[in-house]
């Protein structure tokens, strides 16, 4: 655009007049937008629920009671105050199961993102920084794995190595690290030739110093944003696999598993799958809203885009 005055120029001209305090500014933009505020609050609550699950859940999530089976939620006719969200086929308390499900889903998601994030970032950074043959081979591998129908393979692998939380984490990490690697490499490549990196080199900074002092801080915000998005994807995939019986196994509770258990009763006891499904939805939606804000807030170039 020929327009000489872009918004950035303006900010730049103006910002000479004030001192920013980074965190303060970041939080201010967060609370400026009601959606991201809500999302952040929901996420905080979810984390608290996950951590304090044993304290918060009114019942043992595995305690069966055939007498109380298929009790509807409290506000529906026939519901009871004791089981706020009703009970399932085996008379287990839905609320407690959902609380433990939160714990399971978040735990799996976070562990996957941490493992995949660390491995992927290291490989990607090295590929981007070293370049040459290491980069070429790593890149081919990454390209390749991205092109493979991942959900299909996740299913076969889970079927082969057996379901369960630990295996789920392995399989999901295998699917996720490439995305971190690709992003880290891309960012690294663009940073590697940044003029300020060259300036640091000219002033005599060692390669290690340049990597840690100059490259890494410019990498963190994009990686953190990606991590939130990958967290949402991991939770969705986990729920899908658990739904198909290839993920978390009973008697553990997981949202996907609960939806599957309630699936046949959709016409008679819809609360069985409604609530756990809603939890997945709320969680991933909050994460995505938060990630959108985070991306906008940390990357001025993204302003005005999604």
């Amino acid at each position: 655009m020929t327009t000489e005055l872009t918004a950035d120029d303006v900010t730049q001209a103006r910002s000479v007049n004030f001192r920013d305090k980074d965190l303060y500014r970041l939080l201010r933009t967060l609370f400026h937008d009601p959606f991201s505020t809500t999302a952040a609050i929901i996420l905080i609550v979810l984390v608290i629920v996950a951590i304090a699950a044993p304290v918060l859940s009114p019942f043992d999530p595995t305690a069966q009671s055939l007498l109380r089976r298929l009790t509807p939620p409290a506000w529906v006719e026939g519901g009871s105050e004791a089981n706020l969200l009703g009970t399932d086929l085996l008379g287990r308390d839905m609320l407690s199961r959902i609380i433990y499900g939160t714990r399971m889903s978040l735990m799996i998601g976070v562990v996957v993102v941490v493992i995949a994030g660390i491995i992927g970032t290291i490989i990607g950074m090295l590929a981007g920084y070293l370049g040459g043959r290491f980069d070429a081979i790593a890149m081919r591998f990454i390209d390749f794995q991205t092109a493979i129908p991942y959900f299909l393979l996740a299913m076969t692998i889970m079927a082969a190595i057996g379901p369960g939380a630990r295996n789920l984490i392995i399989v999901l990490s295998l699917g996720s690290w490439v995305i971190f690697a690709r992003l880290a490499r891309g960012t690294m490549l663009s940073i590697r030739h940044a003029v300020y990196i060259e300036a640091a080199r000219v002033t005599g900074g060692s390669e290690y110093w340049i990597l840690v002092r100059h490259a890494l801080p410019n990498l963190t915000s994009t990686i953190v944003t990606l991590a939130t998005l990958e967290l949402s994807r991991a939770i969705l995939t986990e729920a899908g696999l658990s739904f198909l019986g290839l993920g978390v196994q009973p008697p553990n509770s997981a949202w996907g598993l609960m939806v599957a258990e309630g699936h046949d009763y959709i016409s008679t006891a819809n609360w069985l799958s409604t609530f756990p499904g809603l939890m997945v939805m709320i969680t991933t939606l909050s994460i995505n809203v938060f990630a959108t804000w985070l991306r906008k807030a940390t990357d001025p170039v993204q302003r005005g885009r999604m």
């Binding site: 390749f144 092109a147 493979i148 129908p149 959900f151 299913m155 729920a239 198909l244 005005g304 999604m306």
Partner: protein
């Protein structure tokens, strides 16, 4: 250009090989096919005998080469379930999946592109808000929840459509909607971003300075350029639809497609059928990628110079 397609063909070949190899690795190396085949209480000597007969006691590499050489002429062995060659069985549900997949993608693109274009043109308008909500919901939507909810609302509560099954057009409505939801979100998002990117480019001002009406600038200049990334993303989404989303959607709605076939093969532990189905899906994925490449070359004249 020919080079590009040739490169792509080689890449595709490796991709299919990789998928079949992973299936082989997971079912024959990590899992024990004989145990899966025979009843659990079979005596050890019979298992051993069986192992020998079928050649499962040979070195893994020999088995692998043997297996792959058969696989490449489309021989995955007989399905353990139906006792006939597995590949024809795996191919049979393909039309059903294509029916759904193509319908869903048509729905997603024909809705998503206009919404995205309009939102990109008028940031902040109602269309933009709709686009934001659609794309956020799209990327956060758990299919395991959406499918039962659609069934609950339209089939159980309103009684308008069948809950599950195959045959009439009524059966297609809900699975198509479910399958279109996620691609819709992604397509809206990318179209919007792409239009916004394109509209601020200098050539748009040039075209307007020539006296072209805004609508004509949009149609003849902007739209075509902006749709390039949309084609790529739609292709990826189509791949995800037939290799991922469809597995859950078909499982929920009892739609006899490849996803359902894959899920069934895993559930009944029919290894040849599983491998054949995975092979079919991989071939379809490759074919879609190929089609997208060719479409991209047709639409983008500049690819010759890159």
């Amino acid at each position: 250009m020919l080079r590009l397609l040739l490169k792509r063909a080689v890449h595709s070949f490796f991709l299919i090989t990789a998928v079949v190899s992973v299936v082989f690795l997971t079912t024959f190396v990590i899992g024990d096919p004989v145990r899966a085949l025979l009843p659990a209480e079979t005596p050890e000597e019979i298992v051993e005998k069986y192992r020998e007969e079928r050649g499962f006691n040979r070195p893994v590499l020999v088995q692998y080469i043997d297996y792959m050489s058969h696989a490449f002429v489309g021989d995955f062995g007989d399905s353990w379930w139906q006792r006939t060659p597995a590949l024809p069985i795996a191919l049979r549900p393909l039309p059903a999946t294509f029916q759904l997949g193509i319908l869903a993608m048509t729905l997603a693109t024909s809705l998503g592109i206009p919404i995205g274009v309009y939102a990109g043109m008028k940031p902040g308008s109602w269309a933009d808000r709709l686009a934001t909500v659609t794309s956020l919901l799209g990327v956060s939507m758990p299919l395991i929840w959406l499918c039962p909810m659609l069934a609950f609302i339209f089939a159980v509560t309103l009684g308008l459509l069948p809950t599950a099954g195959y045959g009439s057009w009524q059966h297609m409505v809900l699975p198509t909607i479910a399958l279109a939801a996620l691609p819709l979100g992604r397509i809206v998002q990318i179209t919007r971003a792409s239009i916004i990117d394109e509209l601020v480019k200098q050539y748009v001002t040039t075209a307007r300075a020539k006296g072209l009406p805004y609508r004509r600038v949009l149609v003849q200049h902007v739209l075509r350029n902006a749709l390039l990334p949309v084609i790529t993303v739609s292709g990826w989404e189509f791949v995800l639809v037939v290799s991922g989303y469809t597995i859950i959607v078909e499982a929920v709605f009892g739609w006899p497609g490849v996803g359902w076939m894959l899920f069934s093969a895993i559930r009944i532990r029919d290894v040849p059928l599983l491998a054949a189905t995975a092979f079919v899906i991989a071939v379809v994925v490759v074919a879609i990628n190929f089609a997208i490449d060719i479409l991209y070359i047709i639409v983008n004249p500049l690819i010759r110079y890159e």
